[in-house]
Symmetry: C3
Subunit: 352 residues, 3 copies
Amino acid sequence: MRRLERPVTLAQIAELLGVRVTRGSQEIRISRLASLESAQPGDLSFLNDSRYGALAGQSCASAVLVTEALAASLPATSQPLIVADPYLAFAKAARWFESQLPGDRGHSGGIHPAATVASGARLGGGVAVGARAVIEDGAEIGEGSAIGPGVVVGAGAIIGPGSRIAANVTIYGDCVIGRAAIIHSGTVIGSDGFGFARESGRWLKIPQLGGVVIGDEVEIGANCAIDRGALDDTVIGDGCKLDNLIQIAHNVRIGAHSALAGCVGVAGSARIGERCMIGGGAGILGHLEICDDVVISAMSLVMSSISKPGFYTGVFPLLENRDWEKSGVLVRQLPQMRQRLRELERLTKENK
Amino acid sequence: MRRLERPVTLAQIAELLGVRVTRGSQEIRISRLASLESAQPGDLSFLNDSRYGALAGQSCASAVLVTEALAASLPATSQPLIVADPYLAFAKAARWFESQLPGDRGHSGGIHPAATVASGARLGGGVAVGARAVIEDGAEIGEGSAIGPGVVVGAGAIIGPGSRIAANVTIYGDCVIGRAAIIHSGTVIGSDGFGFARESGRWLKIPQLGGVVIGDEVEIGANCAIDRGALDDTVIGDGCKLDNLIQIAHNVRIGAHSALAGCVGVAGSARIGERCMIGGGAGILGHLEICDDVVISAMSLVMSSISKPGFYTGVFPLLENRDWEKSGVLVRQLPQMRQRLRELERLTKENK
Amino acid sequence: MRRLERPVTLAQIAELLGVRVTRGSQEIRISRLASLESAQPGDLSFLNDSRYGALAGQSCASAVLVTEALAASLPATSQPLIVADPYLAFAKAARWFESQLPGDRGHSGGIHPAATVASGARLGGGVAVGARAVIEDGAEIGEGSAIGPGVVVGAGAIIGPGSRIAANVTIYGDCVIGRAAIIHSGTVIGSDGFGFARESGRWLKIPQLGGVVIGDEVEIGANCAIDRGALDDTVIGDGCKLDNLIQIAHNVRIGAHSALAGCVGVAGSARIGERCMIGGGAGILGHLEICDDVVISAMSLVMSSISKPGFYTGVFPLLENRDWEKSGVLVRQLPQMRQRLRELERLTKENK
């Protein structure tokens, strides 16, 4: 990242974070945030995990956001700034630094002359529309939102105020996106759900007549696909965060403040509760329900409803391939192994 | 979904479906399709699965498509319309309702002035091309097809009549797509297959000189990637339905009327038969063959050819994480467990 | 693929490959490359694998690149051209054939009048920019590179010379791509990493202030997502090859000449060594390290660092579903099975 043109003191950063500098100098000058590994003098870093203690010990950062417990890992040249949650403190510091950096040259604001905005579209004050974007009839873009180059906003779609839609996103007609959304490039919202009825070995398409409703302060990564509902809407609750390449099928409902890591697939009509965390590449089958506060490990498949908050995993452990060739075969033989165990138990009982 | 401006009678819907109203009134007025949960008076719903019997019991739908066996689940206020296959009947009703609704405001037809159509491209009668679409030289678009905004159709590509290519789809040069295709936004057809030969630890690209041939009445979801063949074509048979975020590698061949759910990956030169159903997130390794009428469960990996129609699964079951930590370790120890079992069997035999 | 207008002799191809025609005629005329299956007289094919021996025996190819050991599989009508590595020889032949075919009609060169190139962008000599592409302020495109239709190159991004960026790719601001890159349609480079800190059950976005640095001669398939770093850069080394629909999270570093098959997901801050091969759909968890020369099987999950080169697998084997229903249950019961085994061992020891 770029350096601030005018450094700030550690005391100023501490004030921003609502803490005090309890060790060393208040006056250390900070002009950049950096990772422990790449930090140079003048940089502020953070240490969040004892696994990185050794790395911290060699850091050249001038100051480090750290818990009391991990502060001893730091070298004499790195002054600790003690906080309860270094990652959260870093997030807040990063948001402040970003606000001090010069703005994005790509969004100069206003409607680019090479954009195509239908006469029946309604744009709020201060809306920016990038080159080659297409905004169809009846679409509404809320105040202060930025629509990137190449974005297509379908007829009748609504995007709330303060949202940022990155280049080449596609939003189908009549979808609704709340305020302060961030949607990254390549993502598609409102494509038809995968609905077909079988008739004599062929598939008959079921029109997908519902929509997509996305709450406030939702962020969706790159190249995701969020299908419109068959009859009802697909719903993503306020504050949800979706990483890249995620598939959300029709009629899925995700509760507020849930987070889905990259490559997750959620099948039709599944319901996910609030504050859930779904690991990368995990799958959720359709027509089931996951209660609030459930954590699913990466690449695990949820095959039935979960009604108890907790941490769930279903992954075959990684083995050297030659060992896997043995264990894999034996997984198939588990029923026979159990049968042999039963037989032995019977014989042993008789022999007693 | 929107209501019809002029309601129809249940008798009219029954006629459309080729059945008769055998209970209650012929004259009930229907103006909308709705799910059991969101239905209001005036709505027609469907009940397909005994798991939803309780939901059906509380529905406010005026009428419900249902089998004889499940009709008893309905409340007195919901009149059953008895059909053999409620899901298929619903599909047909939905298709009819959709045909009655006002058309898509986004596709007004004709070639948008902000589209770029090469002079050597050939467009059939009634073709619509959206704003910012690019149709390169030598491409052919069949009669009545609609090309969405931002779509790129490469040089020499052919799209059959009556097809609908949604916004921001990319079709590389010389690919062939049949009639009545539906391709959703973000999908890429004809990118280079992943072909490299190794030479002294580096990868030498193998030019991908084949194409992609997609049959008639194929639907492909959002953000899929279908690679062109290395020498021969990648082929997707008539009537296939692909969900979102699917990877089809070079030289894959998929038989007619197969359906692939979201996030499936099919590796190079795999052949999938007709009427197969591949569950979400499943993987198919390359250079193998799957016969007709095979069903693969979600997130299962097909590692060798399948020559017998049937239903196949390979998924580690989901466990509470603390249980998984035990079972996961034991999977690694299966060979030792079998060894211990053998030793016990030997000793028990001796002791007899 | 198309035939050459003027056929070449087998001797000419042999010379190109640095080998000699040791059997049959030097003068056989070749006008096309083809697979064993689709080859016709006048075609050159290759045989790389004994599994395809039967197919080779029926091929109509006039000549076949083949090892000494497999040459006996060929029919009398197919003349062997003996090479050490038929796949590599085929790659070289294909590259030569491609160079002889007429060029891509889509890229006529120059800047299309419907492209939007900011006045502050710098384009090298011979750069082609397709219709509807957008190149923002401060971006640099190296000499001879081709930017496809609909591509968005963000402010300050740098693309090296001789690169080919296919239609509808999105490159965010300030990302750096080396020379001779190939990036396929729909791919997104430089979207925000998935970084959020939790505060009272809500997610606070951490600005992603790093970039993406992609080395020379990298190929990236369709619809991939490569996130920018949080503070440092996400780095993809020289000569890496990425297939389609791959997720690369923030701060990942991939060593030179590694290859990732389709649908792979790599979580944040993971480091992958040089010359690794990651199978399709595999997952790599974050904050771990994989050493050089590691091969990971398809759909396997790497959950901890790997410090020994080798071949690793973690996949539940595919079973007929009714067998899986038994084995799946027993995986859960492994701890009890081990307990029963222990009890039997104790009893057997006592009984001795």
